[in-house]
């Protein structure tokens, strides 16, 4: 009976196939429709403005939903939702990869980092960088190690610090990956394995890695020393431990010339000259009172200054000159800094506070190079403050806060407002909110992905 039915079905399909194909046996038909051509420039032309028309220059945002494992990717050209992906667990943080192609979806408590491919990237075609635009995708590349916490990136590398876990005696580790590692689902990237856990920080410098050290008998999970490591295939070998200590180390950053770590007694500065590294300390200035210390550091490759935060006090740190100056960002009494970064291709610095204001500072630091006269001018100059919401801040959902993402391709910044589940686009030049987009979920974290424009003062 079954066979008879099967047979009947198959013969019917066969008949249909046969008739549809026999109709045009031995035939070939071609249908070509010409579409809108793509304008291209000569490769040698520096101006890429009207090159590669279809590639989003505004970039994309990856936004995670609160208490949810869903992350959504939005196209900023038109605000459209491109795709939503389910990761394994609720993300604790989002960060961009070195090339800003991938979002690191950090799931701290479940010991995992997943990667969302934003789909915008460029390839080095030797004489020009060729942009690509693809659909976003959840990458098959995953990092699984204990308590991924601090993520730091340079233009080419991302260092993921896994804190390890005291409860399960899992030691800390650092993985240093490139966008190519993610793209190819490689397992050949180098990993630094510690023997104890710590709440540490690491900065990748090409084949070197500067990473923190903690004494086994230390009372705190914070490290107090920094060591230099050199990569060999899949692991790192310790080259040296810097004698200069850094008590209760927290926060790190780097720029073209230096790598810095925040300590209770100042800022530990490592300078690199070729293959030679040297450590020194910029001591806390008189502006530091009580328990104030630098606990957060921000750097950009081409910015001469690092920015340090001690609580809500902002310091401009010129590491090479050993200077640390308080920056007046016209904060209110109760304001706590919750988002920060260089913006507008390094021309500006923005600060998001918990009172719902975005502070915009002009940055002049990179003009200082070699010019003593310019030292008179402050590196950071207050430009404007943008009020992001008039909502009652006490209605902020528990466990939520405003979140900031900064475009690396233009002068926009993006802020999530969990109070009304909106996404604000802030024009930093005009210092105003230009669009407000209503989200249909309570947002949690966000990160900008796309093709970065080179820093304005790139030499």
């Amino acid at each position: 009976m079954l066979q008879a039915q099967l047979k009947a079905k198959f013969s019917l399909v066969a008949l249909l196939v046969a008739t549809s194909m026999l109709a045009a046996c031995g035939d070939s038909t071609t249908n070509i429709v010409e579409k809108e051509p793509i304008a291209v420039d000569d490769d040698h032309d520096d101006d890429h403005d009207h090159d590669h028309d279809e590639i989003s220059s505004a970039g994309r945002l990856v936004i995670s939903a609160k208490d949810s494992n869903l992350v959504s990717v939005y196209e900023l050209e038109d605000g459209s939702l491109l795709d939503t992906f389910a990761v394994a667990d609720t993300p604790s943080a989002l960060a961009a990869s070195a090339g800003k192609r991938y979002a690191l979806v950090v799931q701290r408590t479940t010991d995992r980092v997943e990667f969302v491919d934003g789909g915008l990237f460029q390839e080095d075609h030797v004489d020009h960088l060729h942009p690509y635009q693809q659909a976003p995708a959840l990458s098959s590349f995953v990092l699984s190690d204990s308590r991924p916490t601090h993520i730091t990136s340079t233009d080419s590398q991302t260092a993921v610090f896994f804190d390890g876990d005291a409860a399960s005696s899992t030691p800390a580790a650092v993985a240093v990956i490139t966008d190519a590692d993610i793209t190819t689902d490689s397992n050949g990237y180098p990993v630094l394995n510690y023997s104890i856990h710590m709440h540490g920080a690491a900065q990748a410098r090409g084949e070197y890695l500067i990473s923190t050290l903690r004494e086994a008998d230390s009372a705190t999970t914070l490290p107090d020393k920094v060591a230099l490591y050199h990569s060999h295939d899949d692991h790192f070998d310790e080259e040296m431990v810097f004698a200069e200590t850094c008590p209760n180390l927290h926060g790190s950053a780097q720029n073209e010339h230096v790598i810095a770590f925040g300590c209770t007694d100042g800022v530990l500065v490592i300078t690199q000259e070729g293959e030679t590294f040297a450590a020194s300390k910029i001591a806390n200035t008189d502006d530091f009172t009580g328990t104030m210390r630098i606990g957060t550091l921000v750097g950009a490759d081409h910015a001469e200054h690092l920015v340090g935060f001690a609580g809500s006090s902002m310091f401009a740190i010129h590491a090479e000159d050993g200077e640390m100056e308080l920056v007046d960002w016209q904060s209110s009494e109760e304001a706590g800094v919750i988002g920060y970064g260089f913006a507008d291709k390094g021309e500006k610095f923005v600060l998001l506070d918990n009172q719902g204001y975005l502070t915009i500072l002009h940055y002049h630091g990179h003009e200082h190079e070699g010019a003593a006269t310019a030292a008179e001018e402050a590196a950071f100059e207050f430009a404007a403050k943008v009020q992001l919401t008039s909502a009652d801040l006490s209605t902020m959902p528990t466990g939520s806060r405003f979140e900031l993402a900064i475009s690396a391709s233009d002068d926009k910044a993006y802020v999530l407002n969990p109070i009304d589940s909106s996404l604000l686009t802030v024009d930093l030049k005009d210092a105003e909110v230009v669009t407000t987009k209503q989200l249909n979920f309570v947002p949690h974290k966000l990160v900008w992905l796309g093709i970065a424009e080179p820093a304005a003062h790139d030499h």
Binding site: Q3, A4, L6, K7, F10, V13, A14, V17, A18, S20, M21, L22, A24, C25, G26, D27, S28, T29, T30, N31, I32, V33, E34, K35, E36, P37, I38, A39, V40, D41, D42, D43, H44, D45, H50, E123, D124, H125, V126, D127, H128, H130, Y132, Q134, S156, Q157, T178, D179, A180, T183, T184, D185, S186, G206, E207, S231, G274, E275
Partner: protein, 813 residues
């Protein structure tokens, strides 16, 4: 041949086919009357099958009265077909005599009709068992290169595809368990085939058009890699091997296990290979530069690993099984460097600030494939449908070519395929059935060397094949209709700054030429292309058993092939072939590429194959002659133009005063022309005495354009002699292969000198517990010959590996 009595018998059989006779009982003996144990006895056209016992006896139950055909096979004996008239009360005393053969005869699994090296109209060969274990190499082409009629397109040891009778690429289909391998190996010789030989149980080669079973991609032949990933029984057995090779320090470990319980069969395999760049006796380059390094072909290291899990549900009348396999491979792409060596070395000296991972010269490929297969065979004891064979595969393939630590080009092929074969019960003595075949491939190449645009190819086909014995004649007929659609929504036609040699002289004279040309904005024209083909294939074959132990096979076919997406739509630099490829969708109009307005024709192969075989006694031979007239053969015609390779080196590189085309590639345009391929293949086997066996073989192919000229990379005339020894626990062989000079070349191609390769191996078998182990020593190219392969795209930069000795142990239980 055709007797009226036979016809009456057939009609009678058809009329009474529902009447069961009791059984067929019989014995199988050799020519001396000694019983042959463990011979497989099949009742053809049904699902009845049994094996003989120690006394050579067998019983086939539930046999219909009337005409019956038995197929009997046993190791070291020639297969035999026996026709009997079965009376209603059954047959009790059938006596079958098998003749010994020197020709190893293994059935091909890829064909719905019964086929083996000695029995089919179309020439086939099978590499299996110990021979396969000894010949397995990290690439498929190199594994099969000693098979008659098969050459390798040797790509520096890191990739190779089999060339069947001078055809490869989109004309030779690589399948794994009968389903498309689902990789990117058909579009570039530097793309590795996603099938592994070390865990395979047999590899089958169908020489000549096999479009009937497989469709367009098989016009030149099929290579089918078979493994047991979906077990058809669950008796516990395992095989493993470890080997180390000296020429490239290759370490190989591979193993597979079949087991199960009750109705469930389980399969697992895994392999791991790792090798360094291989050694050679001389220089890698045919014309080495002053500072060239001797003794090694750089960037030919590879590492590969994979595993497969499978399970099947075993039924009384067949099985259904599912498997998952994953393959990872990373391999260097030799000769894939950009520009001169020295210039770059200079650079790396002071580039450590921005280059972290040293060895910036190296380009390598990183390949991953996921493959899910579902296979099923169901036999039915009543009704018109005798068996339903179903095969499904879903494959997700991706490989990235990584240059300077960054992904240069990514190739993706997401494909799925389904084939259902419906075999009918023997009707009027005809055996056969229908095959429904669907294949979908979403192919994408993104990056600097994405010479072909993203495309989707769909194929839907209906095939029909039948065979029947007429006395000593076996007649095989087949037909297939196909519909192939290729959709590509973004086919790019860039303005190509191609120029001839004359223009290039000019270029050298003007220092500022680099900056000047093309500074105006240009447009890339974009097309949405949908192409539909409806190729068909017809084939008729016959095998005539004209004398005891001999037969003559004749196969005549007309096959059409739809051009592949890359042959139609390519436009860009392809470093793997060191050419700038332009598809047939475009044409050249006064040194400028424009859209081709002429219709895209189907390729049509008219093939005649004649095979004469002797397969019993102490000597045996298989002689094939073929004549293949292909109309609208798509090939890459040299346009005489040069274009940039897409890796512009900018202005800071001084290329010196020399007039060379470094950073430039010759432009080849896919063009259709009529060609003729003909050739001969011969194999002679002589069992000199019990331990010694001599095999001689040779093949020759001639491939020319009817309008004059030769096709490129045509295999040279080749002879091989192998003396094998096998007695007790020891076996050994010594093999010499002579590749003659190839001077039938196409434009821009140079002649290649002949060379002789000497290989030898010794194996020793011993038992440990219930395991049978074999330790072996295998030497290849023992004379350390500097050999360049005419069929290789890398002929001038990568010779064959030098002398190598491999030591290995394999075992099974």
């Amino acid at each position: 041949m055709f007797k009226p009595t036979l016809l009456t018998a057939a009609v009678f059989a058809a009329l009474t086919s529902t009447a069961y006779a009791d059984s067929i009982k019989g014995t199988v003996t050799d020519a001396a009357g000694k019983p042959v144990a463990n011979a497989r006895v099949q009742l053809m056209g049904t699902n009845g099958e049994t094996r003989t016992d120690e006394q050579g006896r067998f019983v086939l139950a539930n046999v219909n009265a009337g005409e019956a055909e038995l197929h009997i096979e046993a190791s070291r004996f020639a297969h035999r077909d026996v026709h009997v008239e079965v009376p209603a009360q059954g047959l009790a005393n059938l006596s079958v005599v098998l003749l010994t053969t020197t020709i190893e005869t293994i059935d091909v699994k890829a064909s719905p009709l019964h086929a083996s090296v000695t029995e089919s109209a179309l020439p086939v060969s099978v590499l299996a068992g110990d021979a396969l274990k000894m010949r397995q190499a990290s690439t498929l082409g190199d594994t099969l290169k000693n098979e008659v009629g098969v050459h390798s397109n040797f790509y520096g040891g890191v990739a190779s595809s089999p060339i069947i009778r001078g055809l490869d690429g989109p004309r030779v289909l690589i399948t794994q368990n009968g389903l498309d391998a689902g990789d990117a190996s058909r579009v570039g010789p530097d793309h590795s085939v996603a099938a592994e030989a070390s865990t395979a149980t047999q590899i089958e080669v169908l020489r000549g058009p096999a479009t009937l079973f497989y469709g367009s991609g098989a016009i030149g032949g099929v290579v089918n890699v078979v493994d047991e990933r979906i077990p058809t029984d669950n008796s516990t057995r395992a095989e493993w091997m470890v080997q180390r090779d000296s020429v490239n320090n290759e370490k190989l470990a591979a193993g597979s296990l079949v087991t199960g319980t009750g109705n469930v069969g389980v399969y697992i395999d895994g392999f791991w290979r790792d090798n360094d760049s291989y050694s050679i006796p001389g220089f890698a380059e045919a014309e080495p530069e002053a500072e060239a390094k001797k003794g090694v072909v750089e960037n030919t290291a590879a590492t590969a690993k994979g595993f497969t899990l499978g399970g099947s549900y075993l039924l009384d009348n067949g099985y259904v099984g599912l498997s998952y396999g994953r393959l990872d491979r990373e391999y260097g792409i030799p000769g894939h460097s950009h520009g001169g060596h020295e210039e770059h070395e200079d650079h790396s000296e002071h580039s450590d600030e921005h280059d972290e991972h040293g060895a910036e010269e190296d380009v390598f490929a990183d390949l991953t494939q996921h493959r899910v297969q579902l296979l099923s065979e169901l036999n039915f004891s009543s009704g018109f449908i005798r068996a339903v064979n179903t095969r499904f595969a879903v494959t997700d393939y991706e490989h990235a070519e990584i240059e300077h630590g960054a992904v240069g080009t990514t190739f993706k092929n997401r494909s799925h395929e389904a084939r259902v074969e419906l075999l009918h019960r023997t009707y009027q003595d005809w055996r056969g059935g229908l095959s429904l075949h669907y294949k979908y491939s979403d192919f994408e190449a993104v990056g600097a060397e994405a010479f072909t645009p993203p495309s989707e190819t769909q194929m839907l086909a209906l095939g029909w094949m039948e065979e029947r014995h007429f006395g000593p004649w076996l007649v095989q007929l087949g037909a297939r209709v196909e519909r192939v659609t290729i959709d590509a929504s973004n086919v790019l036609l860039p303005y190509l700054e191609a120029h001839g040699d004359d223009a290039h002289d000019d270029h050298d004279d003007h220092d500022d030429h680099d900056h000047g040309h093309g500074s105006d904005a240009e447009f890339i024209r974009v097309f949405d292309v949908s192409q539909k083909f409806t190729p068909y294939s017809l084939s008729a074959g016959a095998v005539w058993d004209f004398a005891e132990g001999y037969n003559l096979g004749v196969s005549l076919s007309r096959s059409q092939r739809a051009a592949s997406a890359s042959e139609l739509l390519s436009f860009g630099p392809h470093i793997g072939t060191a050419s700038y490829e332009v598809g047939a969708m475009f044409t050249l109009d006064d040194n400028e590429f424009v859209l081709n307005t002429k219709p895209i024709e189907l390729e049509v192969a008219n093939n005649l194959d004649i095979t004469l075989r002797k397969f019993s006694g102490n000597t045996g031979f298989v002689l094939n002659a073929f004549y293949n007239q292909v109309d609208n053969y798509y090939y890459q015609q040299n346009t005489g133009l040069f274009a940039e390779d897409g890796h512009d080196h900018g202005d800071e590189h001084d290329h010196g005063d020399e007039h060379d085309h470094s950073g430039e590639l010759p432009v080849y345009l896919f063009t259709a022309a009529d060609v003729t391929l003909n050739g001969l293949e011969a194999q002679y086997v002589w069992q000199i005495n019990a331990p010694f066996k001599l095999t001689l073989q040779g093949d020759y192919i001639r491939a020319r354009l009817n309008g004059g000229g030769d096709l490129p990379r045509t295999p040279p005339l080749r002879f091989a002699a192998e003396l094998a020894y096998e007695q007790d626990a020891v076996s050994a062989d010594l093999r010499a292969t002579r590749y003659m000079k190839q001077d039938k070349t196409s434009g821009l191609e140079t002649a290649t000198d002949g060379y002789t390769l000497l290989d030898a191996s010794v194996s020793y078998r011993f038992d440990v517990g219930s395991s049978q182990l074999t330790a072996y020593l295998k030497g290849q190219n023992l004379t350390d010959e500097d050999a360049r392969v005419h069929t290789s795209f890398l002929k001038d930069i990568a010779p064959l590996p030098g002398r190598t000795v491999a030591l290995g142990v394999r075992g099974s239980f």
